[in-house]
Amino acid sequence: MTQIIRRHIPTQPLLCFVALAWTICTNQVWGFQPPEKPPLNSASTRSTFDLTCVICHSNPQPITSNNPIGLSQARVYLGEESDVATQDRRSDIHAQAIHKVWQQDGHLTNEFKIILRKLKNQNAIGLNHSWASIDPEKINDKDADPVFLKNCLTCHAGIQADSQKSPMALGRPWEEFAADRSAVSNGSIGCEACHGRGSEYLTKHLSPNWLTKSPLQKQAEGFRDLENSAVSAQVCLSCHLGSPSESKIITHEMYAAGHPPLPPFDLAKFLDETCKKHWIDLTTKSASLAKTPARPNDPSVEYLRKHFESPLDNPLEKLNSEIQGHFRKTQQSRVGQVMASLMSQDLMLFNAESQNLHGDYGVYDCVGCHQTLYKQIRGSYSIKGRVPGRPLGLMWTRPAKSNLVTSALDPLATFQQLLDDVLNKTPFGSPADLQKVFSEFAQQRASAKDQLIEFANKPLNQQQADAWLFEYLKERQGLMGNEWVAKQVFWTLENYFDDLERVTENHSQSDSRNEIYKSRFAALAKTAPEISLIVSCGPAKLPSDEPVDYAQFYKHLQQFVEELVTSQAGSASQTPAQ
């Protein structure tokens, strides 16, 4: 045990424990009561899973709406504590992800073996090495092939592809994972897979001014501040879309071998519908804080300010009222979309630069080709200037101009146009031409993600949300023939109407037009096929055995979007923007 602790806290053991003791005993930061039991006990009885974090974060103090920043995150994550909203006692789906790879005995699951067997004889198009060295029969939780590790475990077990080169990377090194029996049996994608390597930031994390640091400052210190939607989108998308720099890539070969397709990603939907949330969203945090009497220089108020751009002299009450009027989900959805655009461009660049990768169909839109030749075409879409039948990048990650929220992102529209041209020109997506376009925009792209992180702290009020939604839908309305674009538009609308309901409830405002569209959307949502659900606990359940008429649903969605855009255009012309 001591050895394990030493390995996890190699350089600053004393400092850490002092800080830890201080945190536990005083619990100054959020003003909570000390835990009933010493946290180390609960950690040692259960696992050494991301041990450093577990020392504090498996505090039995539950997270509740009255007590939003408890310290039981690890317990909720692992299913020892019930979820705040749903009282669900299962563990987070990410903690179970390991069971897709390994059985309890430490050997590969049959499902995974089949995929690897199919991949073994492949050319490894899409990767810079071959699959040939893999022996699915021999791989176990102690002895993973480097190719398997780099291409599967980076996402499936939160392993760092190359810990020597990137100490700031997400996840933990393989050696540490392999030495930890409980990792296999108890959880895979651990704290550090999303929040960053603890050894980098632990000391700073325990200091009292931690809460007052901005997301970008924390990121520079190795911690991912997932309160910030741009940061969390980047972290989620690194697996749910791909991140070449972390060796998180899925190629067409892997899909063809049996890996399920990665669906489009919507941050608000994915975060809010995770079946085991071990966090409380900003709106609830703020409401809860506003109930308790404010203390002078309360760092938690400063925390709110850092995550919700607001004048420094704003009193807590006013700040809270602004946060309550904030269209959080809409903003999350929007920021997530921009991040997806940026990251999908990273993939395209990696494809173009990689000698053995050019030609990987994984970076293109699945439904662009995988539409059956029957009457019901699910992938049809039209982009100006495109010759039919030629590949395009992922449609759902195409930047919408309305999403280019800061000046640094403005050139991305031109950039996308140039990318489209290269993909449309024969030979489709020539690596040299792609690289040329990328090098022209290298500077803008380099700063874009940081700009987005800063932008993600900005409030979005109803007027702004309406204006954005209008522009966004106008851009997307012709693309509803693409299943994934339609899905994302549907999710965005869901988020918007959720926000609208919450905000208007709080402010007891009501707008008849909004009411009409809200109820019409609710009716439409009832007919949505199962693919629009995010099922993070267990397998998707089909609503019925009858085949779902997707085309019909998308047609209705298209009609709804068109009517909403027309009505908004009408109302905008009646009441000019103030």
């Binding site: 199919k118 004889n121 492949q122 050319n123 198009i125 190629t251 067409h252 070969e253 899909y255 063809a256 071998a257 397709p261 050019h358 030609g359 169909y361 699945c366 439904v367 080709c369 995988h370 539409q371 059956t372 030749l373 029957y374 009457k375 010759v387 039919p388 039948g389 030629r390 024969t426 030979p427 489709f428 997506g429 020539s430 693919i531 085949p547």
Partner: protein
């Protein structure tokens, strides 16, 4: 002046041809029913390229004393028909091809491909690529005066441009062989020449490329089978085959060779990029169902997933379309050609498709392999002799051909590959001596989604999926297969 005159001529034809084929010339009619501004179609002729001789148009054959007569009738079976032109005008689908090109659907295709923009043809080479198969000539106006060549696929499309032999071919001193050799007459009596004539459009050729861009814009994919097309074709000649089954089998083989050779020619020109509108690697060289399969649910065609093919070495890569190249494998096993080089060619095409490699290093070896396979098929490039090949095919024993079909069928019936099964079905259909019970064959056809209206396969759903499903469920592919094999004889 002549340009103006030509414009008005053309105007008349664009209006009249879709409605009738009278080719009236009282050119004062003006109408806006034409899908685009007709002036745009008039351009100065360019070099005639591969066509050194001038075509004179179908009307020049249609004099009532020549090919426009009432026909010899059944009472004199040995007489030359004489009614070829009216038969073509009334019943031959080729006579409709100009109308097809002017139809609303085609105009939409031209717009999607940006050949037609704001009512004007803006991409002439691409438009000529359409005309190459939808019309006798690629130029609508050949000599600056006569516009009558907007006629669809006329006599000279297949028989050769008649500039140098029209006025002499009915005279006693006319030498057929000399005209074939020197004056552009096509030897349509030779089955293989005839088949190659068909495949020039129905597969493609050095100067015409119907590629994936055009398919995606709405043009149907090409699934040609010489034997079955010929069966359905309204013939303007007489056929007196002593043994119809033998003839049908021969045609199956000859068609395969012709398709393979045309496909190799097309591949060659795609790789060399001799057309401005060709691409390489070209998606239409791969099986449609490789990519166009549903990833989220089961589909009606269960035979469509090429990745189920046990012969495949790789997954997630498009399989090479063998519809036209099948002839290479057939001739390899018939004549003992180098089978390895065929496999290599197919493997290289598959790799090229998945890597989309465009480098010289990717292209050169494939071109060399194509060269080799063409030499296998037809002899050295300097002395291609289609007639020699036909002799070899015709003298090949019928029983051996049947064995080949049987083997092919057995292989296909065990695989789950739609294309392989469809090709085997066509082979079988050509070699079956009219079975009493055609039901198993019909069921096969339903399974492969061959629409009733045509023998060539498509991807349309059957009219009544539930009925078809019920019929299929009561019989398995395997049991039907063994029934058919029985009827093939021992």
């Amino acid at each position: 002046m002549s340009r103006l005159l030509a414009c008005s001529w053309l105007f008349v034809f664009a209006i009249h041809i879709p409605n009738c084929f009278g080719f009236q010339t009282n050119g004062s009619a003006h109408s806006s029913s034409s899908p685009w501004e007709i002036e745009s179609l008039v351009y100065e002729p360019t070099d005639s390229g591969n066509q050194p001789y001038k075509a004179l148009g179908a009307t020049s054959c249609s004099a009532s004393a020549c090919h426009g007569g009432p026909g010899a009738g059944v009472s004199s079976p040995q007489a030359v028909r004489g009614s070829e032109y009216p038969l073509w005008v009334e019943s031959d689908p080729h006579a409709r091809s100009w109308r097809t090109l002017n139809s609303e659907k085609s105009v939409d295709i031209l717009r999607r491909l940006r050949i037609l923009v704001d009512g004007a043809i803006v991409n002439k080479p691409a438009y000529q690529n359409c005309l190459a198969c939808h019309n006798t000539t690629k130029e609508l106006q050949v000599d600056g005066i006569s516009p009558r060549l907007a006629e669809g696929v006329g006599c000279e499309s297949c028989h050769g441009p008649s500039e140098l032999w029209r006025d002499s071919h009915y005279q006693g001193s006319f030498s057929v062989s000399e005209s074939i050799e020197k004056r552009g007459l096509v030897n349509s009596k030779s089955e293989i020449v005839r088949a190659k004539t068909c495949t020039l459009c129905h597969v493609g050729g050095p100067d015409r490329d119907m590629n994936h861009d055009i398919i995606a814009a709405g043009h149907p994919a090409l699934y040609f089978d010489y034997g079955t097309y010929l069966k359905a074709y309204p013939k303007h000649w007489r056929e007196n085959a002593a043994d119809p089954v033998k003839q049908s089998l021969e045609r199956w083989l000859i068609g395969q060779v012709a398709k393979a050779d045309s496909e190799l020619e097309l591949l060659n020109s795609r790789i060399r990029k001799t057309h401005p509108h060709s691409t390489w690697p070209e998606f239409s060289n791969y099986q449609c169902t490789s990519c166009h399969q549903n990833i989220t649910g089961k589909t009606l065609i269960q035979l469509q997933d090429p990745s189920q093919n046990p012969q495949r070495s790789s997954i997630g890569q498009a399989s090479v379309r063998m519809w036209n190249l099948e002839g290479l494998q057939t001739t390899d096993s018939l004549f003992g050609f180098d089978r390895k080089s065929t496999d290599e060619l197919i493997q290289s095409l598959e790799t090229a498709g998945s890597r989309r490699g465009d480098a010289e290093a990717d292209r050169k070896p494939i071109l060399e392999m194509i060269q080799k396979k063409r030499a296998d098929l037809l002899g050295d490039p300097g002395s291609y002799s289609l007639e020699d090949l036909q002799q070899r095919l015709v003298h090949w024993p019928l029983e051996q051909q049947r064995t080949l079909v049987r083997r092919k069928w057995q292989a296909a019936s065990e695989s789950l590959n739609w294309e392989q099964a469809a090709l085997a079905y066509l082979a079988l259909q050509s070699s079956l001596p009219a079975p009493d019970d055609k039901k198993p064959l019909d069921r096969m056809r339903t399974r492969l989604i061959f629409p009733e209206s045509t023998q060539s396969p498509g991807f349309l759903l059957p009219n009544s999926p539930s009925e078809a499903q019920a019929e299929l469920q009561s019989h398995s592919w395997k049991s039907d297969s063994s029934l058919i094999l029985e009827s093939l004889g021992p």
